[in-house]
Symmetry: C2
C-alpha cells in the first residue's frame, strides 16, 4: 500500500502541536443542554448551590455554555506531556484482516497506568482542587479506571483521595484496588456503613453488590460533610466533556496534519466522557455548518440509555442527593444485569450528548456483549492491543462499518476511540474464552418499570 | 528548567529514524562468549545439532559472533511499527522529587499488550519459524511476559503456540494465562504429565510448583518430538540479545538526536535479554574504545547470578536436555525462595553478558525486593507508570545513583531500561501495600550446595 509510506502507523503530534486549550462544544450548540436542577425546588442549580460539592473553577466550567475555548493551565499541560499526545493509529492490520477498502484509524488512550482516557479529566479536576487549597477529593468508581486515574492525579499533586468502589467490582477486581492503593488512595467498597446513604441502602437492600449511582451518593455525602474536600466525577458532566475534548482536538490535529477527512466517527458511550471528548471538535464543525460527519455512539444492549431510554430529567445517583439532569436515562434505579461484564453501566448519559442526539446530530446503536468480545479478540490478535470491554463496543461498530464498505466498495475513513486496555478485565475475557459468557437484554417491562420512577419536572 | 523546552518529555523517533538493523555486540568483543557445548560430548554445538531445536535462521544468528549488523526483515520492521519506537522519557518529575542534579532518562518498553520488551524478540523468532514453514512454536514462561509476547506474535503470523507456564505462576496469575488464551495460545502448567521430563520431575518432586528451568525442559521436549515445531526462548541466548538490541539502538538514536551523552546505563538482569539489548550499542562503543560508560546490571538479592554466582559451564534447564552454556550461574537446580515476587528468577545469565562482566566491562549489584518495591511505588506516584517488579530493580539503582549525585552535586546523565508494566503483578504490590512482603537472601551454604552440582567441563 503506497499510503503506508506517507502516513505513519501511529501519528504522534509533536509537543508544540498539542492542544493548549480545551473546546467547549456547548458554545456552538443552538439548543443548549438543559441546566442541572435543584432536586428540591426544580430550579436551575446556581454557582452557590454547586460549590459545596464541586471546586469553584469546575463549577464555572460546568455552567458556562458560551465560552468556546478554555486555556489549559500550564501545570496540566505539563502533566499531559507525561502520557500525551496519545497516538492516532492506522489499523492497517485490521483493514487487511477484514479485506475492506475502508481506512480505519483509532485514537488510543490506553498508554498510561490508569489504562484509559479518564486521566485527562482526573488531572484537571485534581488540579483545580489543589489550586483551591483543598485537602482532598472523593469519588466513585465502577470498573476502576476512573478511580485509578484520580488516584494517580492526586498522588502527583499530593492530594488525599477517597474512592468509593462499587462493591461487586471491589471484590471482582482486587488488582484495580491495589493499583489505587499503590497510588496512596483509600478505597472503600460501596455501599458502606461510612455514610448515611450507604447505611440506608444497606438497610433496604442488605445483599446489594452496589451500583455506580449508589457509590456517587456516598462520595458526594463524604465530600460535602468533610472539611476541605470536594467531590469529583469522571463522566456525564459538562466539565468532564470539556477536559476530554483534548482527545478530539489531538485527533483532529493529527488527521489535519495528513489531510485526512473522516467520514464516520465512533465512540463507546457510558456516561459520555470519551464519546463527548472525541467528537467535540468534529461536532463543532458540524454545528457551525463547516463539515459533516456521521457520528455514532455505541452502548451495551444491557444498558441502552440512548437507544431505549427516555429523554427526561432524572437523578444522577441512586441516593437522589445529586442535582437532576436532563438526559437519556433508564431511571436512576436501573442496574444492568450482573452477567454484564462489558462496562458502560451508567443509567443516564451526558446532558450535552443527550441534547445533540435529540437534535439528530448523532446516531446510536447497541450491541450484545458476546458480539463485543468477539470484536475485541479479533482486534487484539491483529492490532496487538488487548482492548477494554468498553472500548470494544466502538471496535465492534467500526468493524461493522468497515464490512459494510467491503460490500459497497466505498473507501470510507472511519475513526474510533480506543479508550483503554483490558488488563483488569480478564475475568470477562476468561468467560468469553471459556464460552460461558451470556447476553442479557432488559425487557421493555423492566425498562418501563425503572423509568416510571423518574422525578416529575414541569 | 530551560532544557524542558529543548528536550521533550518523551523522545519518540520518527519511523524513518528507527533502526533497520540489529547490532551483534559479539562482533566487537575480543573475548568472545564461550560456545554452547553438547551436554554429552562437551564439544561446541554445531548448526546441525541445534537446528532440531531452533529455527535454522536463528541458529545462524546464535552461532555468528563476527557479523556486526543483521538486517531486520521488512515484515518484522512492519510489526515493530505497531508498538515501536518506544519512548525515551525524561524523568523530570522523579528528578524533582529526588531533588537531584542528575538527569534521568528511561526507555519505556511497556506500551504494548505483552507489557514488556519481550515482544521484540518474540516477533523475530516467530517470523523465522513461519518463514521456515513450521506449524508452531513451543516455549516456557514464568511471570508470563514472554509467553504473552510470543502468543501475540504467533497470533499475528498464524502460528500455533504452546506455552509451558511455571505452575505457581499459572495458578497465581490466571489473568496472564487468559491474555495468552485470548491470543489463541495453549497454556499448560509445568511440570505437566505431557512430557517425559515433566513426568520424571513430578515423580521425584510430587509437590513442586515448577521452575523456569523445568518448563524449558518440557517445551524443548515437545518441540523436538513434534513434527513442524521448534522451541523458542525469550532470554539468555545470543539471538535474543541480538533482537533486543533494537532497544539500545533506539535509545542511542534518541539520545544522539538531542546530543545527550549518558554517563551511567542501568538495566535489570534475569537472563539478560533487556540488559543486553539496552546496552549493546553503548558497549560496542566501549569495546571499540570510542566512548566510556558505567554500565550496571541489577538483580534480585534472592537470585544473585552475577553477584554471587560462579562463572562456569552449566545446564540452561533443570531437565538437563539443553546445551551447556558458560555463564554466571547459581546452579541449574537453584530455585529462588517462594516469597520472591520480584521476577528475574533465572539461575543463569546470558553468556555474552557473563563474558563482558568477567572482563570488567560492566558492574553488577543486587537489591532486596522490599527496597525494589519502595522504588517502584515512588516512581509510580510521580512518573505515572506502574512498573513491573523486574523493571523496578533498575529504578532502584537509578534512584540510588541519582541520590549519590545529590550528595556530590554531579550532574550525571543516567539512562535506565523500564522494561515493562506491573499490571499482572498486583499480588506482589498488594503484599507490599499490606506490609507483608518479606526479603530473602540465600545463604552461602545454599548457593554452594546448588553450585556443587555444576557439570564438570575441562
Amino acid at each position: 500500500m503506497s499510503n503506508k509510506k506517507e502516513i505513519p502507523y501511529k501519528i504522534y503530534l509533536e509537543e508544540h502541536e498539542m492542544p493548549k486549550q480545551w473546546y467547549n462544544v456547548r458554545a456552538d450548540m443552538k439548543n443548549k443542554p438543559a441546566p442541572l436542577l435543584n432536586p428540591g425546588t426544580h430550579k436551575p442549580m446556581t454557582f452557590e448551590e454547586l460549590t459545596p460539592v464541586f471546586c469553584d473553577e469546575l463549577v464555572k466550567q460546568e455552567l458556562d455554555d458560551t465560552t468556546p475555548y478554555f486555556d489549559i493551565p500550564e501545570e496540566i499541560l505539563s502533566f499531559y506531556k507525561m502520557y500525551r499526545p496519545s497516538p492516532l493509529v492506522r489499523a492497517y492490520c485490521l483493514e487487511e484482516k477484514l479485506q475492506t477498502p475502508a481506512k480505519i484509524y483509532y485514537k488510543f488512550e490506553g498508554n498510561n497506568t490508569s489504562g484509559s482516557h479518564k486521566l485527562n479529566s482526573a488531572i484537571a479536576q485534581a488540579y483545580y482542587a489543589k489550586k483551591q487549597g483543598l485537602k482532598g477529593v472523593t469519588t466513585e468508581t465502577g470498573a476502576g479506571q476512573w478511580g485509578t486515574a484520580l488516584s494517580m492525579a492526586s498522588a502527583y499533586l499530593g492530594l488525599d483521595c477517597k474512592v468509593y468502589m462499587v462493591k461487586c467490582s471491589y471484590e471482582q477486581k482486587p488488582f484495580r484496588r491495589e493499583v489505587m492503593r499503590t497510588y496512596g488512595a483509600s478505597v472503600t467498597p460501596s455501599p458502606s456503613m461510612d455514610t448515611k446513604v450507604g447505611q440506608k441502602i444497606l438497610a433496604e437492600h442488605p445483599g446489594t453488590t452496589g451500583s455506580l449511582g449508589c457509590a456517587i451518593s456516598e462520595a458526594v455525602e463524604v465530600a460535602t460533610s468533610t472539611e476541605g474536600y470536594r467531590y469529583v466525577l469522571g463522566s456525564v458532566l459538562n466539565q468532564v466533556l470539556l477536559h476530554q475534548s483534548v482527545i478530539g482536538l489531538e485527533t483532529k490535529a493529527a488527521l489535519d496534519k495528513y489531510d485526512i477527512k473522516p467520514d464516520i466517527i465512533i465512540g463507546c458511550a457510558g456516561g459520555g466522557s470519551n464519546l463527548g471528548g472525541l467528537i467535540s471538535p468534529f461536532m463543532g464543525e458540524k454545528l457551525r455548518g463547516e463539515a459533516d460527519y456521521r457520528i455514532i455512539a455505541v452502548e451495551p444492549a444491557s444498558c441502552p440509555s440512548f437507544t431505549r431510554g427516555t429523554f427526561a430529567y432524572d437523578f444522577c445517583d441512586t441516593g437522589m442527593v445529586c442535582p437532576l439532569a436532563k438526559m437519556y436515562t433508564l431511571g436512576s434505579n436501573f442496574i444492568p444485569s450482573a452477567n454484564h461484564a462489558g462496562g458502560l453501566r451508567y443509567h443516564g448519559m451526558s446532558s450535552t450528548l443527550s441534547q445533540l442526539y435529540a437534535d439528530g446530530l448523532m446516531e446510536a446503536r447497541s450491541y450484545e456483549q458476546t458480539k463485543v468480545f468477539e470484536a475485541a479478540q479479533e482486534f487484539a490478535r491483529v492490532e496487538g492491543i488487548l482492548p477494554a470491554p468498553e472500548s470494544s463496543h466502538a471496535i465492534r461498530a467500526a468493524i461493522d462499518e468497515a464490512l459494510k464498505c467491503k460490500e459497497t466498495g466505498e473507501e470510507k475513513t472511519i475513526v474510533f476511540g480506543l479508550t483503554g486496555t483490558g488488563y483488569f478485565d480478564m475475568y470477562a475475557y476468561q468467560a468469553y474464552n471459556d464460552g460461558t459468557m451470556s447476553d442479557y437484554i432488559p425487557t421493555d417491562e423492566e425498562i418501563a418499570a425503572s423509568v416510571a420512577g423518574l422525578p416529575k419536572v414541569d
